[in-house]
Symmetry: none
Subunit: 213 residues, 4 copies
């Protein structure tokens, strides 16, 4: 899983690599050090590889042997925070969407948010970074897609629904809120539920609804 972003995966085959195997403890210690340093308020360019190495009790070369640059390391640190897709009850579409959407932007608390926002500039430029990012998001997007399609079948959602658009409508506001801190006036209480309900019901009033959309 992580190996995708590793500089050189140690063992793609069953073939045992010669020489001393890489230390699993070092892997952990490095990623932990990154997360600690970020949690302590470092930004992506305040965070130095040398500080990571020192904190992890590891030589710099041990880091560079695994990741080719700082971004790859941060990405893996980000990936390590992504928990599993939460299990869905499968009864109410609204309930399942809420389950999925409640985790947006707060999967592992502030850490994931911070690391994610650190990586955003890279997303604009690096195709590989985008690929990794999508690989992380895809499982939970697939889950949401399935819920939405189920909703169309059960009549809980409009039959002409654009599924991909709906996913963006549901996740986008919460991402903007958490990562971009888009609107400081927005009441934070029950935000996921309020977003889901509003997107389901629409914000249009009687005058508009009469005419349809």
């Amino acid at each position: 899983m992580d190996a995708v972003t590793h500089a050189a995966a140690p063992a793609d085959q069953d073939r045992k690599a010669p020489g001393r195997p890489r230390s699993a403890r070092a892997d952990e210690a490095i990623v932990d050090a990154v997360l600690d340093l970020l949690a302590e308020g470092n930004s992506v360019d305040t965070l130095s590889i040398e500080a990571v190495a020192a904190r992890a009790g590891v030589g710099k070369a041990t880091i560079y042997r695994r990741w080719s640059n700082k971004e790859a390391l941060l990405l893996d640190a980000f990936v390590s925070l992504k928990g599993a897709v939460p299990p869905l009850r499968g009864e109410s579409v609204r309930e399942d969407l809420l389950t999925l959407v409640s985790r947006v932007g707060q999967n592992a608390g502030i850490r994931a948010t911070r690391i994610m926002s650190c990586l955003l500039p890279e997303l604009q430029r690096s195709k590989t970074m985008q690929g990794c990012f999508q690989a992380v998001l895809e499982p939970r997007r697939a889950a949401m897609r399935e819920v939405l399609q189920r909703g169309i079948r059960t009549g809980e959602l409009r039959p002409d629904l654009d599924v991909e658009l709906a996913m963006t409508l549901l996740s986008g506001p919460l991402l903007a809120h958490h990562i971009l801190q888009f609107n400081p006036r927005l009441e934070k209480r029950d935000l996921p539920a309020r977003v889901v309900d509003a997107v389901l019901a629409g914000i249009g009033g009687p005058a508009l609804r009469a005419g349809g959309a």
Copy 2:
């Protein structure tokens, strides 16, 4: 206006400062150099002050005399891209929302998007950065707030509408799309219009609508 973020405003009073006045050409050249370098694919930490100085044909001290650090400079560059709030026809709420929302994430094309995403990491930590960011957004948020309240009065929008939530619902998906490149499968054609219409109408189907929300 810019002077807020300047290291030392040259003339707070009417009193004319003695000595040679600062060159306006340098100001321009520096900001232009920043924008050029970002447009050429630099990220926020690939972009070095020395490169900016070289590109602008300016000494480093001339930059530091105006901005105290790289972030302040980037922020001003960002601010310089923000155009005026677009004029609204004031007839249809849907039309005005579309006018406002069409510019989200693409105000001055790719440049604003790139610079904005570069600044996001700082937004997580710096209060002053957040303040500046909000100062830039506030005018167009005020405009949108006004449109939404008008919509409530005219019956085009629900009378119980949470205005701040609605703003996030309208802008968030487009921000997520442009800045986070959230969903690559999403059809890009007419996206602002489709977002506005879907948010207005809601995605809930007959089964759900019967029950209300």
Copy 3:
């Protein structure tokens, strides 16, 4: 003089270089730091540029701005130790030779010897290093050459003397002694005088001398 080995001489012409001029204090501090560290027992590869920079209270870049590598720096440090050619009385050839030869290998004490021996490996490979080395030695070789030629004229030396060979005969043994520590059994008292006298008189005995050479 030093400028020969400098990476980029700051002012070859009368034209004043633009920008802040290089600090003469840094020049001194760096060379002094090198000499101190060598005197404290460092060898050429124990001596790190970083240690030199730290000792001199100077950034590494300030060193690399002046010298392109460690050897060039060591060479300049060596050059800085070479004092002036000692003044000669001009009466007795033996006396003048002794004056010249007494300084061989101990010009500025142990420091010059140590630095010189550090540079020897480079002498084997670098033509520029050889050039600099010769440039340092040449003045005192010229002086010795003159003394030897005067000796031939006055009859103090053999009329058929090979001057260059004689210089090597006089200096070589002392160099070998000081730099190569060639013969630990050799009595060190009055060594320069004993060398000069033995070279003047020859070591051949009556049996050999009869036959000439």
Copy 4:
């Protein structure tokens, strides 16, 4: 012989060591690799143990199992170049001295010279290095000492000769020439013979010789 400098001689006793015996091929390959790399223009600190290991087709540990550091390895490489003391005819002192002295500084050609000059900096500081160096030189110094003493007895040399000084007078100039490249103007043809003859006869002229020395 070499074992003196080895990190751990595998079998000082008659006791046969258990396990796989060390490979003699590895010993050779390592020393050869050192000599090759030096011959290719490496200096003592350009030459890395890793390069030696790669060239020799050997693991680094195999080197460190035999030599404790780079200097010990270089010293052994140097020792391996030292041929036997050449046989002496024993008739003419001049002839025997010439035989001994002709090899000075050119025993195995350029390689010994280069390695020797690489080791000189270490000679200044390491007592063990000095010991090893002397151990290599001693046999040929003993031979020369014997020749000189024979010369005193036969009257070919002065009866009051300082033997140790004479050895330095004979070897020093050639060492200085070969290792220090002391005097580029010196005619190289027949240099050993010219040195021996000049040292035997002395460079003093009639005026000086009259007074004696």
